[in-house]
Each structure stands twice: as structure tokens, then as C-alpha cells.
């Protein structure tokens, strides 16, 4: 009989927040490098959001260890084929980029802005990594469903993107900077991410076939179909197309996307370990 690792709520939160941190950062970097001056609010919110979340990620990961004081032992080895090993390194490096980009996001000097843009392109690689590696980590286990999932990393990445963008748009809405063009663009990017996520989820389930049963039937099925597919993806997409002129409706959509992102990590982790 195979054993479960008992990765519970701490790790659910870590996967969720890590996805948002990575997604918010690369969204910020794309807005910073390829958007217009009016998109500056998007990149600033994205950079500044990724920093506390990355810090929280580190704390969650350390707290979940059996012997938290030995967390630095993770950096005593580097195994590039091992998601847990490169994950610890990747999170640390990403945190560094997040910190630098956040500090530089306050500068208006041309030189500093140029530096920030270049840095963020490299940092984005680590942002993508942070959003995706947790999925690959699960698919590199011997447990049924996790180990059978070839698209877990791809799916987590798309979810990291959609939740990161939703978080940026929600913060802009709450902070009163949802008036500009940037907000509309980040909402649009979020729509694209959600559509990609929905398609990936369908392929993910198709490839898994009966191995997806822990998600698609049984005690976690209502949460999966209702919480992730319904509340987290389909309803926000419908709201986007129906109510995109009404900002409050769009903000509600962003909240639902965040709920969906959390439900995804929750059902994936807990269904195998229930």
C-alpha cells in the first residue's frame, strides 16, 4: 500500500499563493515591457503583490517541515531533476527578483526603469517556474492520479496566471486604480488565461481517463465540478462577457477566479490523501 505525504492545508495555501505570486509577477513584467505607460499601475501592483506572497510561501513551506529549523538543508543539495530541490532554490531566487522589482517599481529614473524591465524578463522565468513546478512535483510521485497526470504543471501554471491576473485586477479595483486602460488589459489577459486553463483542464481530464476519478467522482467531485469548473472558470468567463462594462461585476468575477484557484489546489491535494 502506497503512503501519502500528509501535505495538507499549509501546502494547499502554499500552492495557491505561489501560483498567484508567479502569475502576478510575469503579468507585471509583460505589462512593464510590452504595455504602454498607462499600464504602469498593473506592473506596480503585480511586483508589489508578488513580494509578500513569496515571503508567505517561504514561511508556509518551512512551517510544514517535520524539522523546520533544518530548512536550509534544502540548499545543501541541488538536484535538477527533482522538483522539490529546484523548487526550494527557485522560490529563493524568485524572491530575490520580486524584491528587486518591487524596490525598482518606485523609481522613475529612466535608468532604473530600464534595469527593472530587463530584470523582470529574467525574473518572469522564475515566476513561471514557481507557478508550474508544484504541479510537476506532484506528478513525480508514485501516487495514483498525481503520478498519472502529465499536465499537472501546465494546468497549475495556467491557474497561477489566471489567479495572479485576477488578484491584480481586484487590488486595482479596491484601490481605485481600475479606471485606466491597464485594468481592462489585465482583465483581458485574465480571460485568455482562463480559456487556456479551461482547455488544459479538459485535456488533463481526457488524458487521465479513469485515473482522474478522485477528482471527477466521489466526495471531492461536487467541489471540483462546482467550485473549480463552475464557480472558478465558467461563471467568471460568463460574467466577463456579460458584465465587462460594470466594474463591480468584473471584480466579482476576479474573486470567483481566486476561489477557483484555491479549490483546484485543495481538491488535487486532498482527494488523493483523503
Amino acid at each position: 500500500m502506497l503512503k501519502i505525504p500528509d501535505w495538507e492545508m499549509t501546502i494547499v495555501w502554499y500552492f495557491f499563493l505561489g501560483g498567484i505570486a508567479g502569475g502576478a509577477y510575469f503579468t507585471a513584467a509583460i505589462a512593464d515591457n510590452f504595455g504602454s505607460a498607462r499600464d504602469r499601475a498593473v506592473s506596480k501592483v503585480g511586483y508589489l503583490l508578488s513580494l509578500p506572497l513569496t515571503l508567505a510561501c517561504g514561511i508556509l513551506l518551512i512551517a510544514d517541515l517535520g524539522t523546520p529549523l533544518r530548512f536550509l538543508n534544502m540548499l545543501g543539495a541541488f538536484k535538477f531533476w527533482n522538483p522539490m530541490s529546484i523548487g526550494a532554490w527557485g522560490l529563493g531566487v524568485f524572491g530575490l527578483f520580486s524584491l528587486l522589482s518591487s524596490v525598482l517599481s518606485f523609481s522613475t529614473s529612466q535608468q532604473m526603469v530600464g534595469l527593472r524591465r530587463k530584470l523582470s524578463l529574467v525574473g518572469s522565468i522564475f515566476g513561471f517556474f514557481l507557478a508550474a513546478y508544484t504541479g510537476v512535483l506532484l506528478s513525480a510521485t508514485t501516487l495514483p492520479f498525481w503520478g498519472d497526470s502529465r499536465l499537472m504543471g501546465a494546468l497549475f501554471l495556467a491557474s497561477g496566471a489566471s489567479t495572479g491576473m485576477a488578484a491584480i485586477s481586484l487590488i486595482m479595483f479596491l484601490g481605485g486604480t481600475a479606471a485606466g486602460e491597464g485594468w481592462g488589459k489585465v482583465k483581458k489577459a485574465d480571460r485568455y488565461s482562463m480559456i487556456i486553463e479551461l482547455v488544459l483542464l479538459a485535456v488533463f481530464l481526457g488524458l487521465l481517463g479513469s485515473a482522474a476519478r478522485p477528482l471527477t467522482s466521489g466526495q471531492f467531485a461536487p467541489l471540483f465540478w462546482g467550485g473549480l469548473v463552475g464557480v472558478g472558470l465558467v461563471i467568471p468567463l460568463v460574467l466577463e462577457f456579460v458584465g465587462q462594462r460594470v466594474k463591480a461585476v468584473a471584480a466579482l468575477g476576479a474573486v470567483l477566479v481566486l476561489v477557483g484557484g484555491f479549490v483546484l489546489r485543495y481538491v488535487v491535494l486532498m482527494s488523493v490523501q483523503a
Binding site: L157, A189, S193
Partner: protein, 258 residues
């Protein structure tokens, strides 16, 4: 590296006395656990942080309708390609000079990735030490010229300890003997170093298909898909990135500043 050591468990000789189970507990100072009623003679049911060796009691229906005992003393397989060792991010799980797999209790930080990476469900987490535990192949004993406690205690030589190459040769002969005696399904499990997981350094002689003993027919290294899964993730990153690029470039281009 020294010559590879191994344990050969010949299940055809096991009488289910559990001397191995007790010797393991005593030598390794493993605590007591509350027994579990499962409707069989087997106890304990699973490997835990306190149980590194256990005798499986399998009742297999014969064609005549009677039940036959299949007894198997099970243990960590000390795989030549070990999922737990590959999964360990701290390097606490290591291969000894004798080819066995051990966990350094002073550097393990309790991330539990090894627990979900063992194809046999062997590695277990110990909450009080905050570290992962499993059979050490009596690392302390083998480094002092003694065999593992379980092999030493076995009264029927069902568990044999020695150099791997010698044990494999002996095991192959034993399979032939058993087949000659009418045990048609007698077979070795994990003896072939070109077989699954590069061979097991604790290998077995079984009297039925591996599945009968709840062993996987062809266990696989969990890390085998990391490259494919990573490439698929990169594909997803490209899609998502292009989507965001499209969203931010539209109309923004007209703005003239970038």
C-alpha cells in the same frame, strides 16, 4: 564502492514466525504499535515509522477451494534506482558503500517527499523526530561485520544475507528446484539488475504472481516523467505569455511609448 550486499527473502521457506519482525523492532529500538484487526493473521498491516520488517500472511484460494498460506517477510527493497533517494532535496537519503539506501536522521528535514516517492509504500514519517524513517539494512550492523538483525534471527533461512551476486545465483537455482517440485509460479522479484528499478538489493522469491503479494508487477521510478511534464509546463507558459502579450500590446502600441 564495496561489493554490493543484499538480502534474499525466499518466501517458500517462511513459516510466519515473525522472528524477523521482532528482531528488527528490538535491534532498531522501534516502539510498540496498537495492533489492528484486519480479519487475517497479519499484524502489523503496513510499514510505518515503527515497523520496518513485517510478515505478510496471504490466504490464496487453491483450485480445490481450500486456502493456501503464502507467507512473505517484506522489507524496504533498497532499490538500485530508488525513488526516495532521488526525491530527497537535502541529500539525507543516500546510498551506502554497500549499495543499500539509508536516511541520515541528522539532516532529514521532514519534507515527506520521499514518502510519496516510494513505489512500495515503505518510507514513513515520524512525527516525534520530525524525520522520515525506514529500514536501514541494519547499517550499524553491516558496518561491523554482522548481518541485518532480521536475517540473523530467521530460523529457516528464509531471509539470507550476503553478497548480491552470490545470492542471485543461489536464488536462481532455488527457483529451478521449486519448479521441479511443482511450484509452477515460483519466480524471483527484483533479482534482475537489468529489470525494474535497476534491481532490488532486497529481492524475493515468490510462489505466485507479484500482485498476489500486493507487489506492483513493474514498479517505476516516479521521476521518470519530470522532463515531459516540465516541457508541457513550458508549453503552457508560452500560451499564457502570448495571451498576456496580446492583451497588453493591443491599443498599447498606438500609445507610442514602451
Amino acid at each position: 564502492m564495496a561489493r554490493t550486499l543484499a538480502m534474499f527473502t525466499d518466501t517458500s521457506l517462511c513459516i510466519g514466525c515473525r522472528a524477523c519482525q521482532v528482531a528488527c523492532k528490538q535491534w532498531n529500538e522501534l516502539g510498540m504499535e496498537v495492533p489492528e484487526w484486519t480479519g487475517t493473521y497479519q499484524n502489523h498491516t503496513h510499514f510505518t515509522d515503527q515497523t520496518f520488517r513485517l510478515v505478510r500472511f496471504i490466504e490464496e484460494p487453491k483450485p480445490t477451494g481450500e486456502l493456501a498460506w503464502l507467507l512473505m517477510s517484506d522489507v524496504c527493497k533498497h532499490c538500485a534506482q530508488a525513488g526516495c533517494l532521488e526525491a530527497c532535496p537535502t541529500g539525507a537519503i543516500y546510498r551506502t558503500q554497500y549499495g543499500t539506501v539509508d536516511i541520515n536522521q541528522d539532516t532529514c528535514n521532514g519534507c515527506r517527499y520521499c514518502v510519496s516517492s516510494c513505489p512500495f509504500g515503505v518510507v514513513a514519517f515520524n512525527a516525534s523526530s520530525g524525520t522520515a524513517k525506514k529500514c536501514t539494512f541494519c547499517n550499524d550492523r553491516i558496518h561491523n561485520g554482522l548481518g541485518p538483525a532480521c536475517a540473523k534471527a530467521c530460523p529457516t533461512e528464509s531471509i539470507q544475507f550476503g553478497f548480491r551476486d552470490e545470492l542471485v545465483a543461489r536464488a536462481q537455482k532455488r527457483v529451478e528446484t521449486l519448479k521441479g517440485m511443482g511450484f509452477k509460479e515460483a519466480q524471483l522479484y527484483g533479482a534482475d539488475s537489468n529489470g525494474f528499478l535497476g534491481g532490488l538489493n532486497a529481492f524475493f522469491l515468490l510462489l505466485a504472481r507479484p500482485g498476489t503479494y500486493n507487489l506492483p508487477d513493474s514498479p517505476k521510478l516516479p521521476q521518470r516523467n519530470v522532463v515531459v511534464d516540465s516541457l508541457l509546463s513550458i508549453g503552457s507558459a508560452v500560451l499564457v505569455g502570448l495571451g498576456a502579450l496580446l492583451a497588453f500590446r493591443e491599443r498599447g502600441q498606438g500609445g507610442g511609448d514602451a
